[in-house]
Symmetry: C2
Subunit: 327 residues, 2 copies
């Protein structure tokens, strides 16, 4: 619970720091208003707060960490702004997506300047913390995030996607940024000796997070955030649930299954057809075990870190807060 309070404190100090950067005051207004818009939508700020958490835990310059946290949050929102155009998404966090509100040209250009500015802030963090390599890590991460998004768009068009390909895609599209955040906080704290392990931990937590999201999309007990049960299936998305099911089948059956999944034009009919299959193949248990295996591997990394037992406990609790939501 100490972590929960720490998380809230870090979130508050981050929001204040971000507001003080006064991106909303920058000119030309047409360029920076959309930036301010997407940043002001309510968000959990998991990435910047995770970065700040690891810096706080191990020490080092908090100001550097705040710049780095602003950097990753700007970067993340740049990807959301551009992804929403690519995915033709009208809504973002319950509000009009940026291109719906300001037009496509503005959303492209404002996204571009956010990517640029995210690197400016990371440079600032490098200077303040005297830690070289933070920008290199963000740039490597950024390239992988683009590659993950390219795979994701490619998968939309393809009928046959394997669970392994999907895991690679979510590693790049989602997990590497969380891992980058956790490593960056650790590096700013001067604990380069832990950087590799913390990065791996971030990958496992990031993939686990996404798999759990896919799991809960269908198996959540409560009505999470007003989401429709089986929303991924209704939209015909090839989520981990669908691909876990496909992975249970022999090759010809799998091929036929994925083709049928793709061809269904009635969302409700697709869901009704899927339900007995998920039951018959025991996907609740299988995907549940896969999520658990990521948690187990995450905890095994935590167990091996050369840190105080107090810090180990804090990290366990932190990871537990990110994973295991609603379970």
């Amino acid at each position: 619970m100490a972590n929960l309070r720490l998380g809230e404190e870090l979130l508050l100090s981050f929001e204040k720091f971000l507001a003080d950067l006064q991106l909303s005051q920058a000119e030309p207004t047409a360029l920076y208003e959309p930036v301010d818009y997407i940043l002001s939508l309510e968000a959990k700020r998991i990435r910047p707060v995770s970065l700040l958490f690891f810096q706080k835990l191990f020490g080092g310059s908090h100001e550097a960490a705040l710049y780095a946290a602003s950097s990753v949050e700007l970067f993340h929102n740049f990807t959301l702004m551009h992804d929403d155009i690519m995915d033709e998404a009208d809504l973002r966090r319950g509000h009009p997506s940026t291109h719906k509100k300001y037009g496509m040209a503005s959303a492209i250009l404002s996204g571009d300047v956010m990517l640029v500015q995210s690197l400016v802030y990371m440079r600032q963090a490098e200077h303040l913390a005297s830690v070289p390599g933070l920008c290199d890590l963000l740039l490597k991460t950024a390239r992988e995030v683009c590659e993950g998004q390219a795979l994701d768009m490619d998968f939309e068009k393809q009928t046959f996607v394997s669970l392994q390909q999907y895991l690679q895609m979510i590693e790049w599209k989602t997990a590497v940024l969380l891992a980058c955040c956790m490593e960056t906080g650790t590096l700013i704290a001067g604990r380069a000796d832990l950087a590799k392990s913390i990065y791996e931990l971030g990958i496992l937590v990031g993939i686990g997070f996404q798999l759990e999201d896919d799991f809960l999309d269908y198996y959540a007990q409560d009505n999470r955030f007003g989401k429709t049960k089986g929303g991924d299936i209704l939209r015909g998305k090839k989520s981990a649930l669908v691909l876990e099911l496909a992975a249970c089948m022999d090759a010809p059956t799998r091929e036929e299954f994925l083709q049928t999944y793709q061809q269904h034009t009635q969302p409700e009919a697709r869901l009704a057809w899927m339900e007995p299959l998920l039951e018959a193949y025991g996907i609740h248990a299988k995907l549940g075990e896969r999520v658990q295996s990521y948690k187990d591997r995450a905890h095994s990394i935590i167990d091996q870190l050369a840190i105080s037992s107090e810090n180990r406990e804090a990290i366990r609790e932190w990871v537990g807060q990110i994973l295991g939501r609603g379970k």
Copy 2:
């Protein structure tokens, strides 16, 4: 003429280096094929070659300069790829623009990864040359280029744009990148003492280049590159020509003039209406003098550089090649 040969040599070595980076081989193909496509369109490579020219002139690591040159060329092509979407341009250098060929989503994402990769190459240049600050310069430039594009899009919508506003816009949208290239080459060569002056020179050459382009669009003697005479006016663009004319008028006349210019729906009629006005206000001389004033200021900077008379002559010749085309 020695410069001309040097320019050709630098262009060849740059093209070879860029090809050897093998961006065309990178995966996923869907992400990197559009990158390869836009880079393979025939181009003059003014920016990377200018960077290499200043490094060659003053010394330093040529490999670092080649990475930096690749960086700025990737950056420039990223802006072209995104600008073409924003401007709804179907053609780029006589070929289908990237989004026309690969779709908008691909052109957004491939542009993003080019921006990321351009910074990766600039980091590489920083490391090889042991010159910190190259990335900071590119990032500052990148932010200004975005701001310049935002102003340009804004001007399209506005009736009243002043010549001063236009000069600010082209400084950010065009000149800062050339200036960044010239300063980067100079910094890699270890001549930090010249950096500020060379940057200013780049700004003057960059603005002069654009003004000359606007001038020649209407006043070129020959049929340049198959372009239509007065193409800017036919398209209703508020170019330097139009704004130079507007600047000659008193406020009420200017307002009426710009409104009429904007409202003309017949391109040919707009051109026919403009021709006697350009003649009456002596715009050929006025804009010609303005272009000349940028050249004069550029040469005055060159005169004051603390360099050998041989290098001074080489820079004069170089600037003469960039400016003064076709005059």
